[in-house]
């Protein structure tokens, strides 16, 4: 769905382009229409907008120079890492400069003694683990887009992953940042240690979705790889039983590395596509639990989890220890999103959070909403932390379908808020959900958050229309759509 061509603006871009070329070189500036095409959207492909210009700085200094040009001419700019974001965070603003970090892709320092790594923002998430795994370390936050998404994007979205239940999300692993502010100024926040004196601007910046400036150096904590890992796959004849098992595991004092659930529709979709053979088609739900720690601990906890599964009526529990067998059990879960693509021409992924204990109720309500709107909704989610990803199956070729599906998605978000949850657990608000912010936050709450933006970006040029609702953007319904171009990669 392409947005209608914007009216050409009055701005004379030629001299501005020259300024960028002077700073970044010819290769650092892209302005031909066909080259701009790929930058029209991020993972949320139903929102599109063409940037006026795309620039590729290579250093903090170049980012600063580029932003200074933007500031001088009051040009909105949008940071972009790999463009896998699912909330339209990297969607270009009207007449904007897109600042892409893909050439800032060096790991600057690896300090195993102090368990930290300094990277440029364009470094891809799993490069970090690759760089330190030989020494027995890893970088914990593992979004399933980790083979393509950038650390800069992770920082901006405060991304999570399957293994964040025990070890936390991005913000718990960032020690410090070098930032280029929307004025072009360069500041260092945080450092090599947590809790440096002063306001925690590092914590404030993580999750700010490109609205407070651009992170150009990121200091990450790395963790020691667990001695042993075990994965369990349990199947249940009711979603309630699976949900009760989740509660019981947590109640027993076990914090698994990850705990994921899939419902019957997702199971069948997966079996149609990847034929794992381990996800029973008649199960109402399967639960995947990964426990880690010392061998003795992983073993004992796996045994306890297994017992809890059976106590709650699991028909069968499979267990895997060696990496290959573990992968087999995970395979279906990882293929879940891709499998949806086979079930229906299109699917729409939502990202809401609920208190874990409201799982059964909310899933029941989601089914009802699906029936009411006339769509199938498959559920695949991080059961451990109540982060739901309902997938609405539909056909975009049918007129009005997208709008209806979006409305259904909106109802699901409202449901999440109603039971005490949140409208986003890890994908961010971006352009997609800003109109739902008032569901969670009062005018005063939002105004106070905007104070922060006012401090960092008084001229409102950094990703200006994202996160917060404006009368203009929220006059029309929020839009959302599955990421067509990343179909092959599993999504969580």
């Amino acid at each position: 769905m392409l947005a209608p061509e914007k009216n050409a603006t009055q701005r004379n871009w030629q001299p501005i382009i020259q300024e960028f070329i002077t700073v970044l070189g010819e290769k650092g500036v892209v302005r031909r229409k066909e080259e701009l095409l790929v930058y029209e959207c991020d993972g949320l492909t139903s929102y599109r907008n063409r940037p006026a210009l795309v620039v590729f700085p290579r250093s903090t200094e170049e980012v600063s120079q580029a932003i200074k040009i933007c500031a001088r001419h009051q040009l909105p700019f949008v940071a972009r890492g790999s463009g896998t974001g699912l909330s339209g965070g990297a969607l270009p603003e009207d007449d904007s400069v897109l600042i892409v970090t893909s050439r800032m892709n060096r790991i600057l320092n690896i300090d195993l003694e102090n368990q930290q790594v300094v990277v440029q923002p364009g470094v891809i998430n799993n490069w970090v683990t690759q760089a330190v795994s030989g020494a027995g370390f890893y970088y914990a936050p593992d979004p399933s887009s980790q083979i393509i998404c950038s650390i800069g994007g992770n920082v901006a979205e405060n991304s999570g992953g399957v293994h964040c239940l025990k070890y936390g999300v991005t913000t718990n692993h960032v020690l410090g940042l070098k930032l280029v502010l929307p004025t072009g100024g360069i500041v260092d926040v945080g450092g090599s240690l947590p809790e440096m004196p002063g306001y925690d601007l590092t914590g404030l910046f993580v999750g700010s979705e490109g609205t407070l400036g651009i992170a150009t150096e990121i200091t990450l904590k790395i963790l020691k790889t667990a001695e042993s890992i075990k994965v369990l796959l349990a199947d249940f004849t009711s979603v309630e039983a699976a949900g009760a098992t989740v509660s019981d595991i947590i109640g027993a004092g076990i914090i698994p590395g990850g705990m994921e659930m899939m419902d019957n529709l997702s199971i069948n979709a997966v079996e149609d596509v990847v034929q794992t053979g381990c996800y029973p088609r008649d199960a109402a739900a399967v639960l995947l639990v990964e426990v880690d720690g010392l061998a003795i601990e992983a073993e004992e906890n796996a045994r306890r989890v297994e017992a809890l599964c059976y106590q709650n009526g699991a028909r069968n529990v499979q267990m895997a220890t060696d990496p290959e067998a573990r992968l087999t059990l995970w395979k279906g879960r990882k293929a879940a999103f891709a499998a949806m693509g086979k079930m229906a021409p299109d699917y729409y992924v939502q990202d809401g959070v609920i208190p874990r204990t409201k799982l059964e109720y909310v899933l029941g309500e989601i089914t009802k909403l699906g029936e009411q709107f006339g769509y199938y909704v498959a559920n695949v989610f991080h059961a451990g932390d109540g982060n739901l990803h309902p997938l609405v199956l539909y056909d975009n070729a049918q007129p009005g379908a997208l709008e209806q599906v979006e409305a259904l998605g909106g109802e699901i978000l409202k449901l999440c808020v109603k039971v005490g949850g949140s409208i986003s657990g890890e994908h961010g608000i971006g352009a997609d959900k800003r109109c739902y912010m008032p569901e969670m936050f009062s005018e005063t709450d939002l105004e106070t958050m905007q104070w922060v933006r006012q401090v960092f970006d008084p001229d409102r040029i950094a990703n200006p229309t994202k996160i917060f609702p404006t009368p203009r953007t929220c006059g029309e319904a929020a839009r959302s759509h599955a990421a067509e171009q990343f179909k092959e990669i599993e999504r969580f």
Binding site: N114, Q115, A135, E157, N158, T171, N172, L181, I186, V187, D188, V189, G191, S192, L193, P194, E195, M196, P197, G198, Y199, D200, L201, G203, L204, V206, G207, A226, G251, G253, I254, I255, G293, L294, E297, V353, P355, R356, T357, H382, D385, G386, G420, G421, S422, I423, S424, M437, M440, F441, S442, T444, D445, L446, E447, T448, M449, W451, V452, V455
Partner: protein, 453 residues
């Protein structure tokens, strides 16, 4: 020499408090002079503000967030400078307060709002005491993974405002990693919130991080939601003592092994001596393991074997002995009602800890020092008077190792001789702008924070 920036709160004259108005808002029994309230307030204020400044004329204890908000609205209109506090146990921490007309205590905002047992979260008002919260959680075999100073008196609001925790950082991180949502009253008296009550949430800016460790300079937190953890079935600690180089090997081996201590602290020789009742001239490593019983047993055994192979002494502690040891450690690192103690929060790169202890040994052999082995954060405490110059020298050393030294508690005389916070680098200007945005009139805890904020 450092210069205190006081432009935001230049007028140091007194703004008279309107008692009738305050009493009408908060109730007559909730507004008191410091003397009426408790002598501890005047004593704390004398140290928090230093000599020659007018103490606050009143202390108010609103019993609801709404009343607190009304008090703040009133203060905003009248231009009263406000010093927020909870139980007052850390009122003296941070920079000297430049002016305060009114103390606003959250001590009566002490309701537990919701313990969502199955969701591992707890929501409570800011004045709830840490000890009471832990008691509540313990009934469900859960706990808040923080170990702050003055655990008996400290309120949740004060813990958040000072980002104060201790050894548990090793496994659980800091206060920032625990805080899921907050409500607060702004300087203008409006109530705002951020975050939520669920364990995963990225909607909106993370103001929880901004408020954690902001020392009452941005607003008054009235309610908060924390992530909590299940209690482990078994617990055991090991104290390892001997040659520094060998201890360093223990540290790096453990951190590179699959072992999962929930705490691992370096302790300076005087501190180790206090804990063991045996004089020692070398630092010690204190590790704590909590997990299922067989895992704890195995981990302790591995540490002991490692220690033995390096000719180090290792003592295992369980049960009451273990509890007492950690309590003693806490007491030595921040004893309640010992205003003469100098308490610093320190940080050095984790791998520089042994160098830091050498430095300490050379310059201040009596100092109680603790460094968390994984994060490099820690505490430094002097029970006897110290020179500002010594603190500055130690600070320089910390800074050379990418760290810092913050003087939390010290005599006003010391705090007048040095900036308790030290240099915070290039981000100071942004911090000052944040302050100005949240508190344009500079009425909240003026002078208490970095760069004179």
């Amino acid at each position: 020499m450092w210069e205190r920036e006081i432009e935001m709160h230049q007028s140091l004259s007194i703004s008279p408090i309107n008692w009738q108005e305050l009493e009408a808002i908060a109730g007559a029994e909730s507004v008191k002079t410091l003397e009426q309230a408790d002598p501890k307030w005047s004593q704390a204020i004398a140290r928090a503000m230093g000599a020659g400044l007018q103490p606050p004329q009143a202390i108010v204890f609103p019993d609801s967030a709404e009343k607190l908000a009304e008090v703040m609205t009133c203060a905003y209109k009248q231009g009263w400078r406000v010093l927020p506090c909870g139980a007052g146990s850390k009122l003296t921490w941070g920079g000297l307060i430049q002016a305060a007309d009114l103390l606003v205590s959250t001590a009566r905002l002490n309701r537990l709002i919701d313990h969502a047992i199955g969701d591992l979260t707890i929501t409570a008002e800011a004045g709830v005491r840490f000890a009471d919260l832990q008691h509540q959680l313990a009934q469900a075999n859960q706990f808040l993974a923080l170990d702050p100073a003055f655990a008996e008196q400290a309120t949740l609001g004060g813990i958040v405002a000072t980002a104060d925790t201790g050894s548990l950082r090793q496994r659980y991180g800091g206060v920032r990693d625990m805080l899921l949502g907050i409500s607060f009253v702004r300087a203008d008296g409006l109530i705002a919130k951020a975050g939520g009550r669920v364990v995963k949430n990225v909607a909106g800016y993370d103001l929880m991080k901004l408020f954690t460790g902001s020392y009452g300079t941005l607003g008054i937190v009235t309610q908060m939601t924390f992530r909590v953890y299940p209690q482990s079935e078994a617990s055991e600690s090991v104290l390892v003592q001997g040659e520094v180089a060998a201890l360093e090997q223990v540290r790096s081996t453990v951190l590179r092994s699959g072992l999962t201590p929930i705490a691992m602290d370096w302790l300076s020789p005087p501190l180790a001596s206090q804990l063991t009742d045996a004089a020692t001239t070398v630092p010690a490593l204190l590790l704590k393991f909590q997990a299922i019983a067989p895992s704890v047993t195995l981990q302790v055994q591995r540490v002991k074997e490692l220690a033995q192979s390096l000719q180090l002494a290792a003592i295992g502690l369980t049960g009451d002995l273990e509890t007492q040891l950690w309590q003693q450690l806490q007491t030595h690192l921040a004893a309640a009602n010992q205003p003469d103690q100098t308490i610093c929060k320190v940080g050095v790169l984790p791998a520089s800890a042994t160098l830091w202890f050498q430095q300490l040994e050379r310059l201040a052999p009596k100092g109680f020092g603790q460094i968390h082995a994984a994060s490099g954060l820690g505490r430094l405490v002097f029970t006897e008077p110290v020179e500002a110059n010594l603190l500055l020298t130690l600070r320089r050393f910390c800074q050379e190792h990418n760290g810092f030294l913050t003087v939390l508690q010290a005599t006003p005389a010391i705090k007048q001789q040095l900036d308790p916070w030290g240099d915070v680098g290039t981000a100071l200007s942004v911090m000052q702008l944040v302050k100005r945005q949240f508190d344009p009139n500079g009425v909240l805890s003026p002078g208490r924070f970095v760069g004179g904020i």
